[in-house]
Amino acid sequence: MSRILVKGNEAVIKGAILSGCKAFYGYPITPASEVAESAAINFPQIGGTFLQAESEVAAINMVYGAASTGQRVMTASSSPGISLKLEGISYAAGAELPMVLVDVMRGGPGLGNIAPEQSDYNQMVKGGGHGNYKLIVLAPNCAQEMCDLTMLAFELADKYRTPAVILTDGFVGQMMEPVQLPEPVTELPAKPWAVDGTPETANNLVSSIYLEAPVLEAHNEKLQQKYREISDHEVRWEQIYTDDAEIIIVGYGIVSRILQTAVEAARAQGIAVGLLRPITLFPFPVKRIQELAETASVFLVAELSNGQMVDDVRLALDGRRPTKFYGRMGGSVPSPEEILQEIKKLNNDLNKNGN
């Protein structure tokens, strides 16, 4: 097996190029800059475009322009930069433009710091910008998935004509791990809606403006229908030791790796705990969580935030099972030992109540 050792941020660009992405527009920001730097090396080599834009706002609008032509195109940034891009993201969602956005999350609010956080969950999963839109949000937890899920993001973005997001953090972006490169995508889907400077598309229009209320309402209904379809068909998750688990611990991205180690240690001590890792944050694995609630007694959600995904777990459970939250902020990352303590505490409580 031929593998290469690369940073997660670099793996994103490898996945993008393997997906037939032809352009990258971005702006430097730690800890996402390696994505742009890799793009600066690789895109000109394949006859594509790399452009360092004058601002995050310009970058997302360049992506908007390129996506309008039907080209596979992307940008990457980190939390404060994503905040700046939100206007453009809302326009892209409204104009139904496929594009891939990478958010290598860092600590906030404000300038915060450059350490890893997961506090952009609401911003990316719930919309963030104005209007009734959602983004497809994928959460890789290793370098291999930074490549693979970037490829999936391009595929889903085209399939549903909507922006797709790689939501990751400073650790997954900076970490080096072996990556097996998948085969390049050779056939890209046709985009008869695009404006590509040909006679066939000379009547096409890319826009998010619908002046009359009934028309805009119909457009919004169409978007919601699309989001329902995505929810029906594109949910992805991973689970470890969930079959007989009394405690289900839920986490995504880098946190899921820490949880995995903690769950393995807890299992070694005979604690019936399992891990559910949402790979898609929108669509969220609502049904899977409800199924797990059939057998599990309690849920624990761990995030590098003040508790954002936990809301979705609670909505899914609808009060059926108690849901605890363990959160760290500011770039502090819990050790597996700290998570293990939380699991033990929960387990003791369960046993007490059971007795």
């Binding site: 690369v6 826009s207 949880l259």
Partner: protein
């Protein structure tokens, strides 16, 4: 007044069916508004140049947001101020198309000020039509950056004052200071004479783009009778007497003729290559075929205490701490193991100290963070002091005894004192102290084969001339580590 009957250009839709409401023959513009005239000049140029089908028209926010009601070509509607950025993305993707970026003064000079400056400065091969009517028309005549001093608007009810709002911005003059733009002219559309000039300017700006010359910018002083609360006739007179007195009608820049095509800044990098790379070329480019021939490295016999290590490597910047970690992770990968490498990143790294976490395992790795450390490799004293307590009981501490003059304080760990810097100095290459350390670690623990580390060196160390010295350093460290290694008794333990 005699009604002028003109033939509608082919580049306009026959009926404006995209426009809601009745009356699909007329535009949504107010009587006396300049937009309709400017649209017509553009559409006629598109007709005459035969470029309708390959034109992409970018509409801004403002009254001309509905450019797509009229222009029978590809249309993209942009966010407020962002038309030049959107046009950049389109033109870079479609170098053979004709991209017309159309903006008003609020859109271009206020919210989009930086976007137009930067697009101009990059010399994007696009044509920008800038309609300056000194006001925000669509939102109800608020002040624009181009509003004249003393001019009353709904947000300058007492007239614009230099003290509070500053002076009107002359965008054409400002952009003309830039190196890249090839053509900048300000025109008006007040009478037949000026209309002809405006027509010529638009044609020139679009021709420049077709010829691949670069960025052209045509500013058009245009009436907004509704916003100005004037009759169309008074509006024209106001442009002639007042507006064009401040915004002089002039060619601000024209590099045409003086330039050859290759001097216009339209370099290959702005155009996509015509040839698509093959699958094989892509894989090669991304490093995916670097190790097509699978190499098997010798299996090593490792004491249980040293298996599946969680390693922390620390030192000051320049000691090659991160590289040491990468060599370990790379050779582990090449030995068909799982490995992760996680650096400390950001300011603390720039401050002079660096560390990385490396985990090697024959099972899938969970947390890449090393909290409980099996092996600490400390290249300097601060590193030892910072991480000594994190090492688990019976863990191993490799320390650079050339630089750290104290002993390990912990009694429950295995210390290995490696004079790494001295060895490196003996090799006359102080930079290889990290590789000496790596050699010592492998010699002591037998974790990975020397062959795999040498192979990893070839991939990780970019400077090929350093291979020989790294090989020597590795051997020197390995020999030292092996000599220090505890006599093997794990086989008996296993049995």
């Amino acid at each position: 007044m005699a009604k002028e009957i003109l033939e509608k250009p082919e580049s306009f839709y026959g009926e404006f069916t995209r426009k809601p409401g009745a009356n699909p023959e007329s535009t949504h513009y107010c009587p006396g508004c300049g937009h309709g005239v400017v649209h017509k000049l553009i559409a006629e140029t598109m007709d005459d140049f035969g470029i309708r089908e390959k034109t992409v028209f970018v509409s801004p926010v403002g009254c001309s947001v509905f450019g797509y009601y009229y222009f029978k070509c590809g249309n993209v509607q942009a966010a407020h101020g962002r038309a030049p950025a959107v046009a950049t993305g389109i033109k870079r993707a479609l170098p053979d198309s004709v991209v017309i970026s159309y903006q008003g003064d609020g859109d271009l000079a206020a919210i989009g000020g930086n976007n137009i400056i930067q697009a101009a400065n990059r010399g994007e091969n696009i044509t920008v039509i800038f309609v300056n009517n000194a006001i925000y028309g669509m939102t109800g005549s608020q002040m624009a950056p181009t509003t004249l001093l003393g001019q009353k608007t709904t947000t300058t009810p007492r007239g614009r004052s230099a003290e509070n709002e500053g002076y009107p911005i002359r965008m054409s003059e400002l952009l003309a200071t830039l190196e890249a733009p090839v053509y900048i002219e300000r025109v008006a559309i007040t009478d037949a004479k000026h209309l002809m000039k405006a027509r010529k300017a638009i044609r020139k700006g679009i021709q420049n783009q077709i010829d691949g010359r670069g960025f052209s910018f045509i500013e058009i002083l245009s009436a907004c009778p509704t916003g100005w609360k004037m009759t169309p006739v008074d509006s024209k007179k106001w442009i002639e007497d007042v507006l064009s007195d401040y915004f002089k009608l002039n060619v601000l820049k024209d590099k045409n003729g003086a330039l050859k095509k290759e001097d216009t800044g339209i370099t290959k990098s702005k155009r996509e290559k015509e040839v698509e790379p093959t699958k094989k070329e892509i894989m090669e480019l991304l490093g995916g075929t670097a190790q097509t021939a699978k190499v098997s490295f010798p299996q090593t016999d490792v004491t249980a205490n040293y298996l599946d290590p969680r390693i922390k490597i620390a030192g000051f910047g320049g000691q090659g701490v991160l590289l040491l970690g990468q060599l370990l992770a790379q050779s582990a990968m090449m030995s068909e193991l799982f490995s992760t490498w996680l650096p400390s990143y950001g300011p603390e790294m720039r401050g002079g100290t660096a560390n990385c976490h490396v985990i090697i395992s024959d099972k899938r790795i969970g947390s890449p963070l090393v909290s409980e450390t099996d092996v600490l490799i400390a290249m300097n004293l601060p590193s030892l002091e910072k991480f000594e307590d994190e090492v688990r009981p019976n863990g191993v501490i490799f320390m650079n005894s050339s630089l750290i003059k104290r002993k390990v304080e912990r009694q429950d760990v295995e210390p290995v004192y490696v004079p790494a810097t001295e060895f490196a100095d003996e090799l006359k290459e102080p930079r290889v102290a990290n590789v000496v350390m790596l050699g010592a670690y492998l010699g002591y623990t037998n974790l990975l084969s020397v062959e795999s580390v040498l192979a990893a060196t070839k991939t990780v160390v970019k400077r090929k001339e350093l291979f020989a010295i790294n090989k020597e350093a590795l051997a020197k460290g390995f020999e030292f580590g092996r000599a220090k290694a505890k006599p093997k008794k794990h086989k008996e333990e296993v049995l």
